[in-house]
């Protein structure tokens, strides 16, 4: 029999339903895997007692024939989601030992669906990063290694802990969030599937905010089907979030079987970067060929403002973050650093000590671009370019149903590489950021390996609230790619 940790979520669901395995066995196997691979540093907090209690409850429901959609499925939660009674850190010192007295809407939905809580995964501090090296709890190690090279690689970020945990088979799926690529980029770096749904699809209530107009929750899983199963349970209108969309949640899993025959796939010429790794270009061409073979039609399209998406993002996101993070002031919760002096001294000492270098840098940039005299040149300009980026997509979707691009400009890099220059680090998100600015759904699917044996992903973008088409295309790529490579570091 396959090891419990090698099951996909869909397989585990079937095994639970058939009573071939118990929720308890699943939970124990994953807890053991977490313990075995704790050097990956994928988790900030592991909750074994909670996991076993959840599993016992799930087993009881299954026995009574009252199983819920995710009953007994062990999941990990990015530590950006607030969880009742479980320390929630956003991977920052500033939250100290903050224990939320409330549960984020998305995680609450998962527990209501019967999922089992394994713990909270590591991330870049306040989700600001593309390498998971800005966490106050240490970097996460990618379960993959380059062939013949033992150096630790980054798992991508900011949802590096979730991606690493899924890739290393420490959980059957994990929640993540994506502000500029934080689901799709680590998924691509770890050979997993990650979808950022349409802005408004998942409630943001109870998720520590980074950049409110861009943040969106989504799942990371091992297969497209698993991602579809999880996204359905995570989605839905939440009256507590004014930006949550009051639209019906389709059965994403049901869309998978529909194939791509007749779908019009756009290939944007602006995503062909100067000096892009040839393997990425080759993979992209391969993806085009697969979709053509599966019956889709391929169309060259233009998204002319693509190259301005990153600089736009690096105005909008820090601006919103500078304001969103003002609440961490040492007064009501979290870290307080008091060295005598007045309230402003307390604020400055607390925030100076509580935020890491990258978060401080972004708060300063954000404060600057909103400050008197610079607002028009930076923030307002960025909003206008954002409008143009959205318009580019509106135009494109008049002629195509989905867009195919590479997910990242490179495979995973070593810890310490690209660290010297923030701008080089920011370029990791060059393919993922436009979808955040336009609020559109995007998925990263593992599609092949580069010369050093590291996974590479393709990205599929869709129309707003048309994740079904995104899933259909992703499923076709997954089927064609037959990606079955395994990371060197994994359970079982």
């Amino acid at each position: 029999m396959t090891a419990p940790t090698d099951l996909t979520l869909a397989e585990a669901r079937a095994a639970l339903a058939a009573k071939r395995i118990s929720a308890r066995e699943l939970a124990e196997a994953h807890l053991a895997a977490i313990e075995k691979l704790k050097d990956l540093n994928a988790f900030i907090t592991v909750t074994p007692e909670r996991a076993l209690a959840d599993a016992a409850a799930a087993d009881a429901r299954i026995a009574k024939g009252e199983a819920r959609p995710l009953d007994g499925i062990p999941l990990a939660i990015k530590d950006l989601f607030c969880t009742t009674g479980i320390r929630s850190t956003a991977a920052s010192r500033i939250l100290g030992n903050f224990v939320p007295p409330y549960e984020s809407t998305v995680s609450a939905k998962l527990w209501a669906a019967g999922a089992v809580c394994l713990g909270k995964t590591n991330l870049d501090e306040f989700a600001m990063g593309s390498s998971n090296t800005t966490s106050a709890f240490g970097n996460v190690v990618n379960p993959w290694r380059r062939r013949g090279d033992n150096r630790d690689l980054v798992p991508g970020g900011s949802s590096g802990g979730s991606a690493a945990a899924v890739a290393a088979r420490l959980c059957l799926g994990a929640t993540a969030t994506d502000t500029g690529g934080s689901i799709r980029q680590p998924a691509a770096f770890t050979g997993t599937v990650g979808i950022k749904p349409t802005y408004g699809r998942c409630s943001r209530w109870g998720i520590v905010a980074f950049a409110s107009s861009l943040d969106q929750a989504g799942p990371i899983a091992r297969t497209v089907r698993d991602a579809a199963i999880l996204l359905r349970e995570m989605s839905g209108h939440d009256p507590k979030d004014s930006t949550s969309a009051d639209v019906a949640v389709p059965d994403f899993e049901a869309a998978l079987g529909q194939g791509v025959k007749g779908l019009r796939i756009g290939v944007p010429k602006e995503y062909r970067l100067d000096g892009m790794v040839p393997e990425i270009e080759a993979l992209w061409q391969q993806g085009i060929a697969w979709l053509k073979e599966a019956g889709a039609t391929i169309h060259d399209i233009s998204l002319p403002h693509t190259r301005y998406a990153l600089p736009t993002y690096y105005i909008v996101a820090p601006a919103e973050a500078s304001s969103n993070l003002a609440r961490y002031d040492g007064v009501r919760y979290g870290l307080r650093v008091e060295e005598g002096g007045d309230l402003d001294d307390l604020y400055e000492a607390t925030r100076g000590a509580g935020f890491g270098a990258e978060v401080r840098r972004r708060i300063l940039i954000g404060t600057y671009v909103l400050s008197a005299g610079y607002y028009d040149a930076y923030y307002l300009k960025a909003q206008k370019v954002r409008a143009l980026i959205q318009r580019d997509f509106d135009e494109a979707y008049k002629i195509v149903d989905a867009i195919l691009t590479p997910a990242t400009p490179s495979s995973a890099f070593a810890i310490g590489e690209k660290q010297d220059d923030p701008v080089t680090m920011y370029l990791n998100d060059v393919f993922t950021v436009p979808a955040n600015l336009a609020g559109l759904p995007g998925i990263s699917v593992p599609a092949g390996l580069d010369a050093s044996g590291l996974p590479l992903g393709l990205q599929v973008l869709g129309r707003a609230f048309d994740e079904e088409t995104v899933f259909r295309v992703a499923a076709a790529i997954e089927a064609a790619a037959g990606f079955d490579a395994l990371p060197q570091l994994r359970a079982a």
Partner: protein
């Protein structure tokens, strides 16, 4: 006549605009479901949203929006069908999120106006620049501990309307009249209780001075003035200070000041002046506020009659003087009281009773019109007793005092005390005969031409009848008896 202050170098004019923060009447806060009631124990009406916990999000309260629209309509202002919430970023102990959700660029209400009533009977129109919705902050208590301030977040997130006037105000009196009129309108609309002591209505006063005919000079803002009297005093004190600065060769610096009512002066705020840079930007947790025009029309259709319209109607329909009408409409409850007394009766007599005896009784008993010891219905019944000659006006005053003391019905008092007016000719004639017999000397003087004594006889007869004689019949009987 323009109001001026006399300095060493001649006359100075005051230029003043007011920013009024009016707490919206609603059950829940602007962006959370926590209660707004005044006086609760500290930090018991605070949601995680109000305390800015991680991941908390605002959801706007429909009633607060409706209240802002009603107020805008009441100020004859433009209602902006598209408005937006911005974040105003600054750090302060009682501002949990580090920003206040407010409306900066696109307020819900645009230009409007208020007609103010001055003591000399004249009126002036003061322009309203805008009205916007925003969150209140919490409260810092500085007197509870020697080295600490204590923070109570009950008020954090309560809806405020900031109502900004044009710099049209030219004297302390006008400023006082402006606040009084605005307060009156808000109370009529039911959008703010206007309670300045509890802080439901707070004024920030912008003051500058200038020589007549000049352009504007530098202004200062005097923050958080919490009574109409202090508004007037603060303006005068600040204007005098500025005149002194200019006249001694200095220059007024734009700054934020506080009014010290005990010393009658303004002083600069002591808090560290980080150059204000609020870094406003659209709140990404909210979408633009788009109003359905039908909803605005519906709110307009249900607006109450406002004080100016009501006063005009009182003058027109009830023949009241402008002064009386204005007094009676000062409070909605007074106007309602008056109208139910006046309905179907002599409106001027009703006005005299309400403004005279009733107001005196309320003053004396320390009660308001809402819990008046005499209801409008029973005052009306008292007037009916005068109208149908059951009692005289004089006896009515006596009955009224009894009503104030006991709350009893006027007719019952009249019956119980036997105060019904005597109209029986026999009884009157008997009393007349008795009085004339007892005062034969006076009768002789009267007959000799001392006409003035007639009043004396009336008095004596009424006294003999314990005040209950019908005055007209008594007069008539006396005239007849005295030949």
């Amino acid at each position: 006549m323009t109001y001026t202050l006399e300095g060493r170098t001649g006359a100075w004019e005051i230029v003043c605009g007011l920013e009024i923060h009016a707490q919206v009447i609603s059950k829940a806060k602007l962006f959370s479901g926590a209660a707004t009631a005044f006086g609760a124990a500290p930090n018991t009406q605070v949601s995680f949203v109000d305390a800015a916990f991680p991941g908390m999000l605002p959801v706007i309260n429909r009633e607060c929006v409706a209240q802002a629209i009603r107020t805008g309509l009441g100020l004859n202002a433009e209602i902006n069908l598209w408005s937006r919430f911005d974040r105003k970023n600054y750090f302060y102990a009682d501002l949990p999120a580090g920003y206040q959700i407010s409306q900066y660029q696109h307020p819900i209400v645009g230009k409007g106006e208020i007609v103010i009533d001055l003591a000399d009977g004249t009126q002036r129109t003061i322009g309203i620049t805008r009205l916007h919705l925003e969150q209140d902050a919490g409260k810092s208590l500085h007197d509870q501990h020697p080295t600490k301030s204590y923070i109570d977040l009950n008020r954090a997130g309560v809806a405020l309307m900031e109502i900004v006037s044009e710099p049209d105000i030219r004297s302390p009196e006008e400023a006082g009249a402006y606040v009084a009129k605005l307060r009156q309108i808000l109370r009529y609309l039911g959008t703010c209780d206007g309670n300045m002591e509890e802080g439901s209505l707070r004024a920030d006063v912008n003051v500058s001075v200038r020589k007549p005919g000049e352009m504007y000079r530098t202004r200062c803002e005097v923050k958080n003035v919490n009574s109409i009297r202090f508004v007037m005093q603060a303006i005068e004190a600040e204007a005098r200070r500025q005149i002194e600065v200019w006249e001694s060769g200095g220059e007024v610096q734009q700054e934020t000041r506080l009014f010290d009512p005990n010393r009658g002066v303004t002083r600069p705020m002591r808090s560290k002046e980080h150059a204000h840079d609020y870094r406003y930007f659209p709140d990404p947790d909210l979408l633009p506020l788009e109003l359905d025009p039908d909803w605005v029309a519906e709110l307009k259709a249900h607006l109450p009659e406002l004080p100016d319209a009501k006063a005009a109607r009182f003058q027109r329909d009830y023949g009241l003087s402008a002064y009386d009408a204005r007094v009676l409409v000062a409070e909605q409850a007074t106007a309602d009281y008056y109208e139910s007394v006046a309905k179907g009766r002599d409106p001027k007599q009703a006005a005299n009773w309400v403004m005279g005896d009733l107001f005196a009784a309320l003053n004396r008993t320390g009660r308001g019109i809402a819990d008046s010891p005499v209801s409008a219905a029973s005052l009306g019944r008292l007037l009916d007793l005068i109208a149908d000659d059951t009692i005289s006006g004089r006896i009515a005053k006596q009955v009224f005092e009894e009503m104030v003391d006991t709350g009893a019905d006027p007719a019952a008092i009249v019956e119980a005390k036997g105060l019904r007016q005597v109209k029986d000719a026999g009884a009157i004639d008997a009393a007349v005969a008795q009085v004339l017999a007892a005062n034969a000397d006076k009768v002789a003087e009267y007959k000799a031409g001392k006409d003035k004594l007639f009043g004396f006889f009336v008095g004596q007869v009424m006294k003999a009848m314990a005040g209950k004689g019908n005055p007209a019949l008594v007069n008539e009987a006396l005239k007849k008896a005295l030949g």
